[in-house]
Structure formats: structure tokens, C-alpha cells
């Protein structure tokens, strides 16, 4: 028997799982429209590879992430892309994001699949790439791209692989039903992941409230090295950090990842998706989603195509919109209210609860904190929920952060037990968001400061350079002046031997010589280049004339068409006229000079 530890805190809310485990997994069918958001998980949004009007086959890659972290999006069925537009997506904000809209043709025809007969013959990186290309991201909740998670930093060895089948949140039974009915596929996925990671230990953890799933998984795990561990039911034992603590007794360091202590968690749904991607070549185009709550007649689990609108899925379970008070996406503890039933099921959607007022009553108004300390008792992360609440409410975010706000897993246990019904988790989420925004702003401000300072430095440098150049010029001029003077003095000194008059005569002589030399020097280069110059000048003139003509014709056209660039063109024409005149002048000058020279 494997030794088990426990984690601090935790609660035992009503499970409400039985409603949706009565029937086998059903197929949700093909809806009229599939809405495929370009971003379905943490990381960068994908970029579409198709255009509206394109015919696509089931499993065809429709969008991919070219830079940054992410996985591609595939067509969930065959049909036509009818648009790429902003549509409401499952997000707590209720905002819209870019989605591809696929109109199914009803054939559900797969594109050509390339299953791998024996993945052991491939390189590990190739298998990881196949997992990425299949568009698999974590199916448990946060949806971290699986291929990246399966490639831990090279200095961390994963010694324990945990397959998370705890599913501790009330109402949700998607993993439970998957384990009951598809244990073999899950095991196939576990084998592949174990082969990639080569852990010393592989543990499948299931809560003890799922006897059928435990039985099915036990049967499938016979003869394999995976050990099946039944963990006591307590919320939130399915949380990654909590499950690690239960199974290994170790805590994930604050701000760290499980790989830091040699552990990795993968959801059972992810294991199944990996199996399908490798052994059947099927990308992730569907998932098991629970539809439950008293607002549906026939609750259960559905194999749902990714992109199926919530409306379609609900109608499959006999939805009564008039009965419900709230529609919740995810579980009652960590999920959020959906305002719009047109949002699609995405890769991370594990549950839809159509709850009546009786089932999940509207929380009573918030009352003052009475410092009972129950929240601190149930906190699985051993934080101080009261303190965090006060600091978050007072917008004293630094102190909240100092009390490890970012270790909060937002499980909702504190809000669940609060006798004053304070929405504690909402305060923490708000504080986290504000801190993240402030950090982003700080980074931006720092960059702006850097750029500003760099610019100031550059301007100063430029200023200095012009200053220096001016100084250099001034110095050169002064030196030249000095030299001239010195020469003159020398000449004077030479002449001193005879008398002053002869000295003056010498100076005059020198000046004359200089004067003679100057025109000669000026004339020599000119006469040497005169001849070819005429041709060049003629060419220049012709070019300018040609340009002027085209410009004038353009101007006329623009005038006729009354285009708004008339003014610009007019200016250009006058400028060109001047240019032509200058060229003509230069040519006549050159000709004249040549003639005089020839005459001489």
C-alpha cells in the first residue's frame, strides 16, 4: 500500500456527481455552426491558415501559433469556413475574441490521418512534436500546452508522473466517465507519456468516491508499471499542488513548478488525447463535457466537438432555460457564470451546470468580517485569507503580495466556509489582476525612461559633435592665418639684410606670384574636364525637360480629375522649371567658355 500524506485545510461540499453518471457517454452530434476560438488556452493566440469560403476536412489544421507558446486549432468536422469574426468566447469577462466559424456539411469526413505504428521507434522530440501538432493542451482546467509541459527544463528530472483522476470539484464527472469507459485509451496515453519522461514512478490518483472508475482503471493497469492510488475525497485534492502533497508529501515551492521537485501532473483526459494523437493520428477535435444541474432533464456526459455552442450541448440534455437562475461554466467552486449560451465548448471546457435558484442560490450580500478564522483553517495553501482580504480591499497590494497572494490557487474553499459570505476569491482575483497590470505598466514606464534617456544622450552627443566640429574649423582657420603671418614675417626677416624697401618689394613680388598661380590653377582642371561636360550637361537638360513634360501632363490630368494633389504637383512643376532653367544656363555658359577657349 502506498503511503499517503494529507494537505492542510480542505472542505467537503455536497458532491452532486450522481446526477450525471447515470448514463453512458453520449455523442453530442454535429451542431449547425461550430465556433473555433483562435485562443483556447494559456499562451499566444493562433493565426488562421484558412480563409472564409475554404472547404475543410475533419482534423485539418485551421490555425497555428507561429511565434510564442501555443498549439494549433483543427477543424472538428468537415465543412466550410464561413467567417473569421469577433464572437463571444468562454471567458469570465464575457468579452468577444476572434473565432473561426465552421459550417458543417454533415459528412464528418476525416482528412488523411497518419497514425504511428510504434512510437518507440521515433525520437522523443518527434513524438512531442506530434503531440503539439495534434493541438493538445491540458484538459484538466488551465490548458497549458501539453507538449511544452512534457518537456521539463533539462536540469530537472521528472521522477514521479502523476495522472490526475481525482476530479474533486462537485458536479463534474467528465474524468470519472472517461475512466470508466475509456480506461484502455488512458493507459495507452500514460504509456506514451512515461516513455517520453522515463519517470521512476507513475501514479494514477483517483478519489475514493469513484468506485467504478477505480475498478475500470485497475483492470486496465494490470500488468503495467503504473500504480493506482485511491485518495480520500476532499476538496481540492485534485489541485495539482495538493495532489502532489497527498502522494509525495512534498510541497511545490512558492512561485515554482512541480518539475522543481521532480513531479509532473497530467490529467486523464490529456492522457486519452495523447493516445489518440499518436496511435490513431487524430488531433484534438472533441472532448468529454459534463452537462448537469436541475435545469436539464437528462444530465450526463457528452463527447462534444470542440467549437459546439453551449446552446446545442444543453439542448441535447433537455435544457429548460426558464428553470435556471445561472448557467455556470466549469464547476461550482472555480467556474464562472455564462451570460450567453452561444459561446462554444473549447479544449478546457469540462462542465456546464444549468443551475436552478434552489441548487446554487444567489450568494447573500457581503457582511463584515467577524474574524472567525474559518477561512484560514480551510485554506489548502496555508495562506492568511483574512489578511489578504483586508489588504486587497484597501488596495494595499504590496502587502497582499508579501503575504503570498500569488500562491492562492483560487479554489474557493475560503469563500465557501465564510459565515459573512464575503466573496473572498473575487477580491484575490481582483488584487492579482491589479498587481499584474501595475507590473506591466512599470515595465512599460521603465522602458519609456530608458528610451527617453537614450534619446537625451543622443541629442547631447550630437550637440557636442557639432560644437567640436565648429571648434576644429575655427582652430584650423586660426592656424592657417598664423602660418601666413609667419611666412610673411620670414620674408620680411630675409629682406632685413638689405633694407626695408627691398623687403617690401619681395612681399609684393610674392603676392604677385600667388595671384598668377591662382588663375592658372583654376583654369587647369576646368579645361581638362570641359569637353565631356557639355555632353553631360546636355543630357541633364534633356532629362529635366522630359521630367517637366510628364509632370505637366500629370498636372493637367489632375486638374481635369480635380484630384487633391494638384497643389503638390504645381509646386513640383515650378521646381522643375527652375531646374530646367538652371541646366540651360549651365549649358550656355559652358558653350561660351569653350568658344572663347577655341578662339584663343
Amino acid at each position: 500500500m502506498t503511503q499517503l500524506w494529507s494537505f492542510p485545510g480542505g472542505i467537503h461540499p455536497a458532491e452532486n456527481k450522481r446526477q450525471s453518471t447515470g448514463r453512458a457517454i453520449r455523442k453530442a452530434g454535429i451542431p449547425d455552426r461550430l465556433i473555433l476560438p483562435l485562443q483556447q488556452h494559456i499562451g499566444a493566440p493562433a493565426e488562421p491558415l484558412v480563409q472564409p469560403g475554404d472547404k475543410v476536412l475533419k482534423g485539418q489544421k485551421l490555425a497555428d501559433v507561429t511565434s510564442g507558446m501555443g498549439v494549433p486549432v483543427h477543424a472538428s468536422t468537415s465543412g466550410t469556413i464561413i467567417g473569421i469574426e469577433l464572437l463571444p468566447v468562454p471567458h469570465p469577462s464575457g468579452m468577444s475574441d476572434w473565432c473561426m466559424v465552421l459550417e458543417p456539411d454533415g459528412d464528418d469526413a476525416w482528412c488523411e490521418l497518419s497514425p504511428v505504428a510504434d512510437y518507440r521507434k521515433l525520437h522523443r522530440d518527434e513524438v512531442l512534436n506530434l503531440i503539439r501538432e495534434a493541438g493538445i493542451s491540458g484538459m484538466g482546467g488551465a490548458g497549458f500546452p501539453t507538449s511544452i509541459k512534457l518537456r521539463p527544463p533539462s536540469d530537472r528530472k521528472v521522477s514521479t508522473l502523476i495522472i490526475n483522476g481525482a476530479e474533486c470539484e462537485p458536479y463534474i464527472t467528465a474524468d470519472d466517465m472517461t475512466m470508466r469507459e475509456r480506461a484502455d485509451q488512458i493507459h495507452g496515453g500514460i504509456k506514451i507519456m512515461s516513455w517520453i519522461l522515463r519517470p521512476e514512478r507513475c501514479v494514477i490518483a483517483i478519489e475514493d468516491n469513484k468506485p467504478e472508475a477505480i475498478e475500470a482503471m485497475r483492470k486496465a493497469s494490470e500488468g503495467t508499471q503504473a500504480e493506482l492510488v485511491v485518495v480520500p475525497t476532499k476538496y481540492p485534492s485534485g489541485g495539482e499542488k495538493q495532489l502532489i502533497q497527498i502522494l509525495t508529501g512534498m510541497e511545490v515551492p512558492s512561485g515554482g513548478i512541480p518539475a522543481d521537485i521532480g513531479v509532473m501532473c497530467q490529467n486523464v483526459g490529456t492522457a486519452m488525447a495523447v493516445y489518440r494523437a499518436i496511435n490513431r493520428g487524430e488531433p484534438l477535435v472533441s472532448r468529454i463535457t459534463t452537462v448537469t444541474g436541475a435545469g436539464v432533464d437528462d444530465p450526463g456526459n457528452f463527447e462534444t466537438l470542440i467549437g459546439t455552442p453551449a446552446r446545442h450541448l444543453l439542448s441535447q440534455a433537455g435544457f429548460h432555460p426558464e428553470r435556471i437562475s445561472r448557467l455556470i461554466l466549469g464547476g461550482p467552486m472555480m467556474g464562472y457564470t455564462l451570460e450567453d449560451t452561444s459561446v462554444p465548448v473549447i479544449k478546457t471546457t469540462n462542465c456546464l451546470i444549468a443551475a436552478t435558484e434552489k441548487e446554487l442560490p444567489t450568494p447573500p450580500p457581503e457582511q463584515p468580517c467577524i474574524r472567525c478564522g474559518m477561512c484560514a483553517e480551510v485554506c489548502p495553501m496555508e495562506l492568511l485569507p483574512q489578511q489578504l482580504f483586508w489588504h486587497a480591499k484597501a488596495q494595499d497590494f504590496d502587502r497582499a503580495e508579501h503575504l503570498n497572494l500569488f500562491d492562492c490557487i483560487e479554489c474557493g474553499a475560503c469563500s465557501y466556509v465564510c459565515p459573512s459570505s464575503i466573496p473572498l476569491v473575487q477580491y484575490y482575483r481582483y488584487a492579482k489582476g491589479e498587481i499584474r497590470t501595475q507590473r506591466a505598466e512599470q515595465i512599460k514606464a521603465d522602458r519609456a525612461r530608458e528610451r527617453f534617456e537614450a534619446r537625451q544622450a543622443r541629442l547631447e552627443r550630437e550637440q557636442e559633435e557639432t560644437e567640436r566640429r565648429r571648434e576644429e574649423r575655427a582652430r584650423a582657420a586660426a592656424e592657417a592665418q598664423k602660418k601666413k603671418q609667419a611666412e610673411a614675417e620670414k620674408a620680411v626677416a630675409k629682406g632685413d639684410a638689405t633694407d626695408e624697401r627691398s623687403a617690401r618689394a619681395a612681399m609684393v613680388q610674392q603676392a604677385l606670384e600667388r595671384k598668377k598661380a591662382r588663375p592658372a590653377a583654376a583654369a587647369t582642371p576646368e579645361s581638362a574636364t570641359d569637353k565631356p561636360d557639355i555632353e553631360a550637361l546636355e543630357k541633364q537638360l534633356n532629362q529635366a525637360k522630359g521630367k517637366l513634360e510628364t509632370m505637366e501632363s500629370m498636372l493637367d490630368e489632375a486638374r481635369v480629375a480635380q484630384a487633391d494633389n494638384v497643389e503638390k504637383l504645381e509646386r513640383a512643376v515650378t521646381k522643375n522649371l527652375e531646374r530646367v532653367k538652371r541646366a540651360e544656363d549651365a549649358l550656355t555658359d559652358a558653350r561660351k567658355q569653350l568658344e572663347t577657349e577655341a578662339g584663343q
Binding site: 471567458h91 444567489t362 466573496p423 482575483r429 481582483y430 519609456a448 525612461r449 528610451r451 527617453f452 534619446r455
Partner: protein, 192 residues
């Protein structure tokens, strides 16, 4: 008795000389260049470099605050900056001085590119080099670097620069604080 007094005076004098020398040495050895307070203040300012405070940039204003200027002259920073400055300097927060402008949502400059004549005037005005372009070629604003300072709008001879408020989108969205609490008897009215 006199010797006792003299010894005491001598000892105290000697101590004074030793510690004086020590302090003098420390002051030289561990001298801090510039005013560290200015850096702290500068770090709290939003670095828009807009000059709305009347100083040519955030750092000059930080220097002025360190010398006792008012802390409420920065409209881009708004209440949050005033609060942070008040905390740092241990003074009472004041409301934003309306003389220097009002706090508004974060904005970004956008050039209407087909109207740009390529005069480079905005490039010269931009304090953070966030505008890209060359003479007689179209210019454009590097959105991620723009601080929304407004300084490029005025020099543009053809008025082709717009200041656009950044709308929150799904990626910049964060959770709102829970709504202010109401008492139980108000509930009927609130939900109706």
C-alpha cells in the same frame, strides 16, 4: 582632582577626534552620487515624458519634487501616482492640480498614414523615439513604445495624428472588485 578632569577631557577629546575621523572617512568612502530620493521619485512617475507638469520630462519634475515642489502636477499618473508619492515622502496626498490637466484613460498616438507628408516634425517631438519614418516618407507610431504624451499632435502641419484611447480587450481584462456591499434588506431592491 584637576588631573581627573583633565584625563576625562582628554579621553573625550580623543574619542571625538577618532569618531570624527571615522565619520569623515565614511562620508568620503561611501559617498552616494546624486540624490537617491530623486531616483525613487522618478521610479514612481509614469515616464510619459509629456511635460504637462511644466518640466521637460519626468526626471526634472522628480528633481523638483525632491526640492519641495508639489506632488500633484502629474495628470498621466493621476491619483495613484499622487498616493504613491505621498507614501514615499510622508506628506498628505492632494487632489490633482487641474491647472496641469486632467487624468484620462491611457491613450496612444496613431498616424493617419495616407495623409502623412513625411515632414519628420513629429519624430523630433517624440520624447521616447516611438515614431518611425524618414523625410518625405510615411511615418508610423510604434504602438508598444508610445506613452500617449500628446507632444507629436501639435507640431504636425497636416493634423494627421489622432490620440486614441486604448479600449480594454479580452487579453488586458482583469477581475473587477466585488461590488460594494448592500445590507440584506436592500437586496430585493438591488436585484429588481
Amino acid at each position: 582632582m584637576w588631573t581627573g578632569i583633565l584625563i576625562a577631557v582628554a579621553v573625550l577629546l580623543a574619542l571625538a577626534v577618532v569618531f570624527g575621523a571615522l565619520l569623515g572617512f565614511a562620508a568620503e568612502r561611501f559617498r552616494v552620487e546624486g540624490n537617491p530620493l530623486v531616483d525613487q521619485i522618478d521610479a514612481l512617475l509614469p515616464q510619459t515624458q509629456c511635460g504637462q507638469c511644466g518640466f521637460p520630462g519626468c526626471r526634472p519634475y522628480a528633481e523638483s519634487i525632491a526640492n519641495g515642489d508639489a506632488i500633484n502636477k502629474c495628470p498621466p499618473g493621476g491619483e495613484a501616482t499622487i498616493k504613491a508619492l505621498a507614501d514615499l515622502l510622508d506628506v498628505d496626498p492632494q487632489p490633482l492640480d487641474a491647472e496641469h490637466g486632467v487624468e484620462q484613460a491611457r491613450r496612444v498616438a496613431v498616424i493617419r498614414e495616407d495623409e502623412c507628408i513625411g515632414c519628420t516634425k513629429c519624430i523630433q517631438a517624440c520624447p521616447v523615439d516611438a515614431i518611425l519614418g524618414a523625410a518625405k516618407h510615411m511615418h508610423t507610431v510604434i504602438e508598444s513604445e508610445c506613452t500617449g504624451c500628446d507632444l507629436c499632435v501639435e507640431p504636425c502641419p497636416v493634423d494627421c495624428i489622432d490620440m486614441i484611447t486604448i479600449e480594454p480587450d479580452i487579453r488586458s481584462w482583469t477581475w473587477e472588485p466585488p461590488r460594494p456591499s448592500i445590507i440584506a434588506t436592500d437586496r430585493q431592491g438591488a436585484s429588481a
